[in-house]
């Protein structure tokens, strides 16, 4: 750490910005947000930004704190997390089965994929009234909406991942007379993992997006509810607080997949291996 600081200082002295930046490692990701926050706070303090439209960051943090103290905060966070989690599991489950089948079998792909692709193009919000009609206004319709959102990226990435597995590797499997199941588990599965994980990350991102849509309609709890509640009751700080929390938890859940991906895919020989 000290060494890094020393190198950083000497780099600054020699005026080499790029060297300085590269020495910071992962911490570089914080530079821009911190800078923007400071800028925002200053602009608010000096009155350049109207507080009824865009409260200062400090105000938002205090609002979050108050909510936390009142005990409501964790309820909202946990119900939203629950919806995302369950929706993600259901969506991933079906996407994995269907993506696996359509990827592996041309026949099944020709039968199912056109239909699924058309469904994919239906905008997310269009599903809302339908699900509410079918499943009522409570949890099932919300979770169904999230599951639909998660489904398509996972399905698409898995299907195309399987189709793009190197034919040369599959042939090696055939030479050793692997049966269909062995080919799938020993060649296709690991070979498709990179694409699958990309699908999972996209799916998760969409899951967070869809939870907002789900909670905007007829929810009495959750971060999405807070979003609307802040606007309806003239408390923009609550709306912004909700946005902040979405960002934090969205990023956290994405990082979990990111970490798993790093561990599971360390064998890859790609551009990303050498930053």
């Amino acid at each position: 750490m000290e060494q890094r600081l020393a190198i950083a200082i000497s780099s600054a002295q020699t005026g080499n910005i790029w060297q300085l930046l590269s020495r910071l490692g992962r911490a570089k990701g914080l530079l821009l947000p911190v800078f923007l926050l400071i800028l925002w706070e200053s602009l608010s303090r000096f009155g350049f930004v109207p507080p009824n439209l865009l409260p200062a960051p400090s105000n938002i943090v205090i609002t979050v704190w108050k909510l936390g103290a009142a005990g409501e905060l964790w309820q909202h966070i946990s119900i939203t997390l629950y919806r995302v989690f369950v929706g993600f599991l259901i969506g991933t489950f079906f996407a994995t089965i269907l993506g696996g089948l359509t990827g592996y079998s041309c026949l099944i792909r020709d039968l199912l994929d056109p239909l699924l692709q058309s469904l994919r193009n239906i905008p997310s919000l269009a599903w809302v009234p339908l699900f509410i009609l079918w499943m009522g206004i409570h949890e099932p319709s919300k979770i169904a909406l999230i599951a639909v959102g998660v489904f398509f990226p996972v399905y698409l990435n898995l299907m195309s991942g399987i189709q793009n597995v190197d034919r040369k590797l599959v042939e090696v499997g055939k030479i050793y007379r692997l049966n269909d199941w062995q080919l799938i588990s020993r060649v296709f599965l690991p070979a498709t993992l990179p694409a699958y994980i990309v699908g999972l990350r996209s799916g998760l991102g969409l899951g967070w997006m869809f939870v907002v849509a789900a909670e905007l309609m007829g929810a009495s709890q959750g971060l999405g509810f807070l979003l609307i509640d802040g606007q309806a009751t003239g408390r923009p700080a609550i709306t912004l607080a909700s946005i902040l929390l979405f960002a934090i938890f969205g990023k956290m859940t994405d990082s979990i997949i990111g970490l798993a991906s790093h561990r599971l895919l360390h064998w890859q020989d790609v551009h990303a291996s050498n930053p």
Partner: protein
């Protein structure tokens, strides 16, 4: 031991890859298939490997017809084709899933020693050089103790030093195990160093042009005068003036 009779391969676009091909390979013989690009040598090898089916004709090993991959046949391709997510150790054992653990370990160990990679078992394919990766591929083919090895230009993607080293290693392996080998190559010197018999192929359509028994005593040296004589003989049969490139994958 290996009998190829009346082999004929026509691809979907009508292109005739192989025509009326007849070949006998005897036990423990090293035979090279040599010819310019597109003459059908890889097509032939793939059919013998059981990866493709001929349009007409038959391949037999000890009277057993071959129409799919056979446990007695090991294949080494031009690229190593290692599973990138497996270590060297795991890659070598790839074909041994039906054996108990001890047996797998013993065979993998032996094979790695044969190719000189016993100290590199923990590495991943991305950490290997081209020559090392190809050696792992050879080890992987050897662990199933095949009586026949099919090699499709196994060293053509490597630099000449590594190529020479691996050719020597292949001969060492043959000295101890005496597999029957069919080696596809476009390298005349390689054919002369390694094989007992050179089968010269011509393409369009693919057929055997002639067979040459290499009457050179082993061990052969690349600098031998006699080798040069054979080189000239082989080169003259190859008709290098007529090189038409024809597509292989159709």
């Amino acid at each position: 031991m290996l009998l190829i009779e009346g082999l004929h391969k026509r691809f979907k676009n009508g292109f005739v890859g192989l025509e009326s091909l007849n070949l006998t390979v005897n036990r423990s013989e090293i035979v090279s298939l040599i010819g310019t690009s597109g003459c059908g040598k890889s097509t032939l090898l793939r059919i013998v490997a059981g990866l493709d089916l001929p349009t007409y004709g038959e391949v037999q090993i000890d009277d057993i017809p071959i129409n799919k991959p056979h446990p007695e046949i090991g294949v080494i391709f031009q690229e190593p084709r290692l599973m990138p997510w497996l270590t060297v150790w795991e890659n070598v054992q790839f074909g041994l899933h039906h054996l108990p653990k001890d047996e797998r370990r013993a065979r993998a160990s032996d094979a790695l020693v044969k190719v000189g990679l016993q100290d590199f078992a923990r590495l991943l394919p991305r950490q290997l050089s081209g020559g090392m990766a190809q050696r792992v591929a050879i080890a992987r083919a050897l662990v199933t103790n095949p009586s026949i090895l099919l090699l499709d230009e196994p060293f053509s993607a490597l630099d000449s030093f590594t190529r020479m080293q691996l050719q020597d290693r292949l001969l060492e392996i043959w000295e101890s195990d005496r597999q029957t080998m069919i080696l596809v190559t476009h390298d005349v010197e390689e054919a002369l160093i390694l094989s007992d018999r050179a089968i010269v192929m011509r393409g369009n359509p693919g057929r055997i042009h002639l067979e040459l028994d290499i009457d050179l005593p082993r061990p052969r040296r690349r600098t031998d005068r006699d080798l040069q004589y054979w080189k000239e003989k082989l080169l003259s049969t190859l008709d290098l003036s007529n090189t038409q490139t024809v597509p292989l994958e159709v």
